[in-house]
Structure formats: C-alpha cells, structure tokens
C-alpha cells in the first residue's frame, strides 16, 4: 500500500529523516513511537507530501509521490490526515467541516455530501453536533469531527499525528475508540502516538524512531516485551 524507499528529509542543514525504508501493507495498522524530535511528524507529513522529501521515493497504491508528473492533490484525496491540534475550520459547522472537501474536491452534489457527512458524524458519535461550530465542542469532540472530515474523502490510508496528545485525559478514550473501530473495519493506518495501550491492542507493527531513523520494528508484543535495541529499551523504560 505504502512503499517508502530511502526517504531522507533535511531542513536546511538539519537532517531530520535518514534513509528510511519501509513497506506498509493494505489494512495494516502501523504505530510509530519515539522520542520528541525524532522525526515522527516529518515522516508522516512526507507520506502525504505536506513535506517534500529531500531524497528517496514514496509510492502509495502504485502511484509515486516523488514522480514530478504525479498530481499530488489526487494522491492526497486518498490519504486522510488527522492532526494533533485538530485544525478544524472555525468558521464552519461540524457538518460543513466534514462536507467541504467532498463538495469542492470530489464534486459530490451538496445533498449527497450532507447525507454522507451526517452518516460519518453519526459514526463518530456526534449526530447531535452537526450544526455546532468547533468553538462549542470539547477537544475530544473536535478530534472526532476531524476524523470524520478525513473519512469523508473515503481515503485508502489514514495518517494520525499524535491525535490524542492535545486532549484532556478523560477525552482520550473516545478518540481511541473511534480509531479502534476504523482499524477493525480494515482501514490502513499509520499512527504516531504515545498511547502504548493502543499500540499493543490495535497495532500490527510498531516502528521505533530515533534521530531520524527507524531503529527497531516488530510486532507490538515483541517491541514492548523483548526490545532488542538499547535505545528502544531506554525509551520504553521512560514511557511504560
């Protein structure tokens, strides 16, 4: 589904990603963990080209993002992204947030887009908030709207960048529940998170990143119970 080959990314003289190679399969849930500043967000943002790689290749569903001829907007339609800080559109209701892209990008008739969006809000448990503006929602509700908004494009892959890090603890569960449901439905997901419980329960594979490289990867059980690399061990001893 996603093939990453020798991906490198530098900001000026700072090399943030160093020669990352990985293959994410269809329906796989990959959890990315690692210390702050290790390049997790940058890695994720390269996968939908919010950052353009300095070197290497990314192929999603057979389409090379790094190919100059590729229309990146078409690729992004298939790759949903959920941000740490939600990034909902404050001047639009929850329903408008969700239906905007299907209407403007997919050119879906307005009625149909509204119907699809209502269904999605229902799916994330927010039927009653359709006509409410983001400012009137709690953090957990905002993030669920943001997930619905990404799903409205019917993406083949969903990227999550620390989706629960900006939430009060009591709201983390409601967002993780939505994500677990998505995983059960077979969505291909790449999730950067510090929620190790989620990683264990839902993750098919865990990538441990440090200083711009994938230092260790494996099944959650293997990474959490029998980490091989010293840096992985050091990191886990701090967060577990």
């Amino acid at each position: 589904m996603i093939i990453v080959k020798n991906l490198s990314k530098s900001f000026g003289s700072l090399q943030v990603l160093k020669n990352i190679t990985n293959h994410i399969k269809e329906q796989e849930v990959v959890v990315v963990i690692g210390p702050s500043g290790s390049g997790k967000s940058t890695f994720l943002r390269c996968l939908n080209f919010l950052e353009s790689p300095t070197a290497g290749e990314i192929i999603i569903d057979g389409v090379s993002l790094t190919d100059k001829k590729t229309n990146i907007n078409r690729v992004r339609e298939e790759v949903g992204m959920v941000f740490q800080r939600f990034n909902l559109f404050p001047h639009m209701t929850a329903l408008e947030n969700v239906s905007l892209a299907p209407i403007k990008v997919r050119k879906m008739p307005k009625e149909e887009a509204m119907e699809v969006s209502r269904q999605l809000l229902k799916k994330v448990g927010l039927s009653d908030k359709a006509d409410v503006f983001p400012a009137q929602l709690s953090g957990g509700q905002m993030q669920r709207v943001a997930i619905a908004r990404a799903l409205a494009m019917k993406p083949k892959v969903m990227l999550f960048d620390e989706p629960t890090s900006a939430l009060d603890p009591e709201m983390v569960g409601e967002v993780l529940t939505v994500m677990k449901d998505l995983a059960k439905e077979g969505m291909t997901m790449v999730v950067v998170t510090h929620e190790m419980g989620f990683a264990r329960e839902v993750g098919d594979r865990v990538l441990f990143m440090d200083e711009g490289s994938i230092v260790e990867e494996g099944a959650p059980d293997q990474i959490f119970s029998r980490p091989q690399n010293e840096r992985t061990k050091a990191f886990l001893s701090k967060v577990l």
């Binding site: 907007n73 990034n87 559109f89 001047h91 892209a101 983001p134 943001a146 908004r149």
Partner: protein
C-alpha cells in the same frame, strides 16, 4: 477679530455642499475602496506567493504607493502619464484610478497581515483533503482572514475618505473642491471650511459606526 459669523450663509451653502460635495466624495471613496479591495487582495496574494518574482512585484507595488505622497500619484496619473501615453485624461477616471491604486497598496498590507495571522494548520488541513492551494485559500483561509481584516479595512476607508479631498487639485468638485469654489466667489472662509469639516466628520464617524456594527454582527456569530 472683526469677522462676523453668518449662520445664514451656512444654511445657504449647505444644500450645495451636500448635493455636490458629500455625494461626490462618498461615491468617489466607495468606488475606490471597492476597486482598492480587489487590487489589495491580488497584491496580498502576490506577496505571500512562494514565487520570488511575484513576491517582488507585490512588494514593489506596496512600497511605491505607500512610500510616495498620494498627491504626487494623482499628479502623475492625471498629468504625467497622459503625456507619455498620449491620451486625454478624464478627471473622474484619474481620481478613481489614483485613489484605488493607492488604497490597494494599504489594503494589500491589511490582507497580508490577516492571511498570515491564520494558523498554517488551516491551509495544511485543506491541502491534506486534496484541495488545491487556491481552493484552500478561497474556502478556508480567506474567509477567516477577511473577518480579522474588517476593523483595519474600516480605518482604511476612513483614511481614504479624508484623502479623497486631494483630488480637487485636478479639478474634481467633490466636497473640498466645491468648498473652494464657493470661497472663490464669496469669501466666507470660516463658514465654508468649517461646514465642510463638520460634513467630513459626520461621514467618517458614520463609517466607524458602520464598521463597529459589522464587527459586532460578526462577533455575535463568532466561532473561533
């Protein structure tokens, strides 16, 4: 002090000052602000473009028209350009042209500040949904930037209304020009110019009322 204030004179010239002066000034300013807003939007988008030459073009525009006196710009448009390009200038066109082009430079800076104050996560969220830069700008960033820009736009409207008095230099009979004409015939200087000043004040205060009202209306429906 042997000048005797004559109320009669004020009442006599008031209808003329309103009919010929205020009306023309309001028309002139309103049309120029509208055109200036369009120019301002385009120039602001140039300035935030990622293409250097476009940025330079936008910067050159704002620098030139904010860095030179409006009076000089009016003279150039009405007297200098016609010489170069060999056409007969029309007072109205020169006046609206100069005011719009000048106000466009100020509006551009207002919009640029507005756009740059919007969290860049907004653009990213739009792009991540497959929108083009233009779509994300139009549906997500600009509506929010515009709302923020309303108070400074109101100030720009007021500034332009006052500056519009400068076009009398090319012979346009707006409020200031009409006053000058009256004084030329009957030298009741104090009555004429004070009445004009009060009329300007009423106009500028009305605009700031209007802007505050618009702001409140938007606040009432404020969602951010």
């Amino acid at each position: 002090m042997n000048y005797v204030w004559q109320w009669d004179f004020v009442w006599e010239i008031l209808p003329r000052l309103i009919k010929h002066g205020v009306v023309i000034t309001v028309e002139l300013t309103t049309i120029s602000v509208c055109i200036g807003t369009v120019i301002g939007l385009v120039v602001a988008l140039l300035r935030i473009s990622k293409y250097k030459p476009l940025q330079w073009l936008g910067a050159a525009y704002t620098d030139f028209f904010r860095g030179t006196p409006l009076l000089v710009q009016i003279m150039i448009i009405h007297y200098a350009l016609p010489v170069v390009f060999n056409y007969t200038p029309v007072v109205w066109v020169s006046a609206i042209g100069a005011l719009s082009i000048n106000s466009g430079a100020y509006v551009a800076e207002i919009f640029r500040a507005g756009i740059q104050s919007i969290d860049k996560g907004q653009m990213e969220a739009g792009r991540s949904l497959g929108m083009t830069y233009g779509q994300a700008m139009r549906y997500i960033v600009l509506p929010q930037a515009f709302k923020i820009s309303i108070p400074p736009l109101g100030n720009e409207f007021i500034a332009l209304l006052k500056d519009s008095s400068l076009v009398m230099i090319i012979g346009l009979q707006e409020l200031m020009g009409t006053s000058k004409l009256i004084v030329g015939r009957q030298p009741r200087v104090l009555e004429t110019y004070l009445t004009a000043a009060v009329l300007y004040l009423i106009m500028t205060m009305s605009i700031s009322r209007l802007v505050r009202y618009a702001e409140r209306r938007l606040k009432a429906g404020d969602h951010s």
